[in-house]
Amino acid sequence: MSVNLPTVLTEDTHFYKKYENELKHLLGKYYISYSTINSWFDYRPDFIKQKFLGIRLPSGVYADMGNFLGEAVENGFFSQDNPHGFIGQENVDLNKYRKPDAEYEKLIIIDRGEYFMVGFIDIYYEQEGKKYLEDNKSGGANKEKEYASEDYLQTVFYNYALGGDCITGVNFFRREGSHVRPPLKLGKEQFYIPVEYNETRVKKALAKLDLAVKEISEMKKVFDKYFG
């Protein structure tokens, strides 16, 4: 298979400067992220608009709430810059999710030769000789089922990139309200969803990654031929 992904790491790539030392040796190489893989399988029209046509789609209020929460956990406080008017901040004890000497937005790389997968761990820390890797997710009713299912592979990828010896899970924050019934609110209900890490899941994750790269590359070749 000849890899032909829409994204190549350059010095202008939005996350390059922050992680320059870890990424310098990968300059010029194709890369893909977990969200891009998901977009390919689950939201293909959006993928084509964004990655092939270069159309900037609005991020959406739900994704913005995820970023708002993620930044708050990282910084230890909620930003005053809150254009969507999210509420319920008082329901989240940020200190509960912040750990001593934790790394936030920790870069992971899975080098697959012709390309690499890139990701950013929300919270990584070590405690009493054990390593922990956590992802923060907010969601409405039943959304937690997605993260508890066998198909949720994000932290599997990230753990694999770090050697596979982390205890992994999702900090789940119940979201109330919706885009038709704003504002979105961070609810009181919050819980931890452990994500099992084993060889079967790693195989499944890597197979999914390779399949996405293969299919995207084939499609991109046709796109380049007729519209490039």
Partner: protein, 311 residues
């Protein structure tokens, strides 16, 4: 969150004081002296009525200037453009084709858009190149432009003019000429007043919008242009055109055909991939912006793509 980008947009219209007999006949039928008795205006009275009321209709008046204001790097760059309608519309299309990620901001969308649409149609510009100009086959709530009057008045029953809004918010609107008076200034050759009015109108639109969204006002930088013999910049990216137009116009269909079938005939596998690519560009999925196709619409679009590709 990404910052929204806006183009404040307005135009000025005028009418000829000496209409053609065809215009007069058409006007006479539409604006009867007495609708009950079907009595018509005649002769001098007809001409007077035409001069008095014709400016309201895009069928008896025309666009003489365009005003486009962009918020760029802390400034409001105002382009005041004059020229023939063909040149104005070609220029407008050239600008808007490159500004698809901007929201068009106007005043009284339900008047401004059809007026412009009809004038453009009469000059051979049928399908708008920007979603913000679309109003045909749509309901008021489907409009994609941002109407400052609607934004300000909201669900209230008071209809505010641009000058009312300026007064309410403490903005200067002295130079703004009421629309119904614009043609008088035009026909007496007072272009300086018209220009000042046009610029102040978009300034008030921008300032009002920014005040209401708690943003600081911007300094105006004026660019004046008279356009002549504007050459249409033909699109080359027909997939993007399809995405923006959200319909297969003849031009887009022919453009895509040339790209796909212009060289070697695609293989069956390539055609399958092309179907997925075109479908990806064509199908609307943004449910949060209420810009999502129904199942029926998706089926119709898939059929159009299959027809295009001969599948």
């Amino acid at each position: 969150m990404e910052e929204a980008k806006y183009i404040y947009f307005s135009f000025q219209s005028s009418q000829d004081f000496e209409p053609t007999s065809k215009d007069l006949l058409s006007f006479q039928r539409k604006y009867k002296k007495d609708f009950t008795t079907r009595e018509l205006f005649e002769d001098e009275e007809l001409l007077d009525q035409y001069r008095l009321r014709g400016w309201k209709s895009p069928r008896y008046s025309k666009i003489v200037s365009l005003i486009l204001a962009f918020e760029i790097k802390g400034e409001l760059k105002v382009r005041f453009i004059t020229g023939s309608e063909i040149d104005l519309f070609t220029e407008l299309n050239n600008v808007l084709r490159k500004s698809q990620d901007y929201t068009l901001v106007d005043f009284e969308s339900q008047i401004v858009l059809p007026y412009l649409g009809i004038r453009m149609a009469r000059n051979g510009f049928i399908n708008p190149v920007h979603n913000g100009l679309k109003y045909r086959n749509a309901r008021p709530w489907d409009l994609k432009s941002l109407d400052i009057q609607q934004f300000y008045d909201g669900a209230g029953n008071y209809k505010s003019s641009i000058k009312d809004i300026a007064d309410d918010l403490g903005l200067n609107s002295e130079a703004i000429i009421e629309i119904e008076d614009e043609f008088t200034y035009y026909n007496t050759g007072d272009f300086e007043s018209l220009k000042k009015s046009a610029i102040q109108k978009v300034e008030v639109m921008s300032q009002a919008h920014r005040i209401l969204t708690e943003l600081p006002p911007l300094q105006t930088v004026l660019v004046e242009e008279q356009v002549k013999d504007v050459i249409e910049e033909k699109p080359t990216d027909w997939l993007k055109e399809l995405y923006n137009a959200n319909q297969f116009t003849n031009e887009i269909r022919e453009g895509l055909k040339a790209q796909i079938f212009g060289k070697k005939k695609p293989t069956k596998k390539e055609l399958d991939h092309l179907f997925t690519i075109i479908r990806g560009a064509y199908v609307r999925t943004n449910f949060m912006a209420n810009d999502q196709d129904s199942k029926k619409v998706i089926e119709q679009k898939e059929l159009e793509i299959k027809t295009l590709l001969g599948l």
